[in-house]
Symmetry: C2
Subunit: 271 residues, 2 copies
């Protein structure tokens, strides 16, 4: 998918919500456990109920790998369902990969070609040759971890390197990599005030922003400091939406929660 | 597996070689492609031929994920085969994972419990709460990326943070994490001279050292600067061993190559 197609979808649906599909069998409604593939059954119900309220879905691969072969199969079925039923939706494999060149090429092939995701999250620690194999794919997007929303972000990401925080060094250096136009960035919303500095370095790139809501981030602040003329924001919510209820009406509850956020986004987009 | 069991195995077999099982269907002998599961058939043959010459096997998960469900199944069969036939061997899931706390817990469960690996490689960028969920598993080992052997290592890892290189900051900070006794570290052998500095920070920890041989590292130098009284080194070789030949005698060729390295290690251990 091109960035332009993503922006068009945002304007059409009046939302820049991304829904995280972090499926935990201990948290999904009990009646689904009788299904042949409870993970896919859960995802399908959530997608059917919310696809008009969001522009992206983001399965975190850890939750699928934790269930071994069954989990991997459920991930395949989920991405296939999205690509067949809702090809306009932007898909993110939240995998946080990154390895030496030939290995990153294998990961890129796995997520972009075999599974058919539009994008994948990648860790920057191993530098240029660990990320560039992902960037080589046309109309695929590499979402680089810059500033994450967890406590551990303060261990290294905010430490000063050559006069600036490491995450800013990551942003600057990554701009020099081959095919850097295919980069997007993860920036945690718990630090919305950092976004104006970030926009000085990457004025146009899309940001995937976790941590709005449950983790304390504020949607209005994120838009104030981070929105660009092409919007440039995907706001992720996972647990707050998909686990809004654990009874048989869970999908409707998820849709109501997503609708609430979409309404707020609609207002922010019209300003 | 306890560290003591690993050290005992090293003394018994007179080797600290780790063999990387990075299986690429384009590189394995053509006749194996007729097998029902060519990846596992290749791994089984390599393991049968080399298990007495090494103390660890390290499948890089990217190579398995790239083949989707079939790849994942081959990885399961490989780790099951190792755990049943050679329970004394140390197993490493080279997955380079790392995510926010609840997600890292899912990864730890996947690799340590479901698949039954002894260890997993983890990226440090997201800090303490992304690594500690791995460290919580008794007699399991978390191998943290410190200084990698690729060119991109110079992008961030060797940059100065608070008066020292980032990878040294990672080593120091990680020592303060809960259950840090379960940490080992990835340190690339292309910079063997760095090992004496590294040993000042982590005098006893095991290091997983890639990049000896093909990537230019020198085994003698690595031992000179990096070996401890408990050895403290696992030297990895992947392509140099497993692709020593691509004909029907590939397993014998791999064993000969591994034997060559083991002989050198035997001498170094007796010094």
């Amino acid at each position: 998918m091109t960035t332009e197609q993503l922006v068009n979808q945002i304007h059409k649906k009046k939302t820049f919500l991304c829904i995280g599909l972090d499926v935990d069998l201990n948290k999904i409604p009990k009646h689904l456990l009788k299904e042949e593939d409870p993970i896919f059954a859960f995802n399908k119900a959530i997608i059917d109920a919310t696809h008009h309220l969001c522009v992206a879905y983001k399965p975190n691969t850890a939750f699928y790998e934790a269930y071994g072969l069954k989990g991997w199969k459920a991930l395949e079925k989920t991405i296939n369902y999205l690509n067949e039923k809702h090809p306009e939706i932007f898909t993110i494999a939240d995998a946080k990969r990154g390895d030496i060149g030939n290995t990153s090429s294998m990961y890129a092939k796995a997520f972009f070609e075999d599974l058919g995701f539009d994008s994948v999250t990648v860790a920057p620690y191993m530098g240029n040759d660990s990320v560039e194999p992902f960037l080589a794919f046309e109309n695929k997007h590499t979402i680089l971890l810059a500033l994450t929303s967890n406590e551990g972000a303060f261990d290294f990401q905010t430490k000063t390197v050559e006069g600036k925080e490491l995450y800013k060094k990551v942003l600057e250096t990554s701009k020099t990599w081959k095919n850097s136009k295919n980069l997007m960035y993860v920036v945690g919303a718990t630090k919305a005030e950092y976004l104006s500095d970030i926009r000085k370095i990457i004025p146009d790139s899309f940001l995937l922003v976790p941590g709005v809501g449950a983790q304390g981030g504020n949607l209005q602040d994120v838009c104030k400091y981070g929105m660009t003329k092409n919007i440039g924001l995907l706001i992720n919510s996972s647990r707050g939406i998909i686990y809004a209820s654990s009874d048989e009406y869970f999908a409707t509850a998820a849709a109501l929660k997503a609708k609430e956020i979409q309404e707020e986004m609609k207002t922010l987009l019209s300003n």
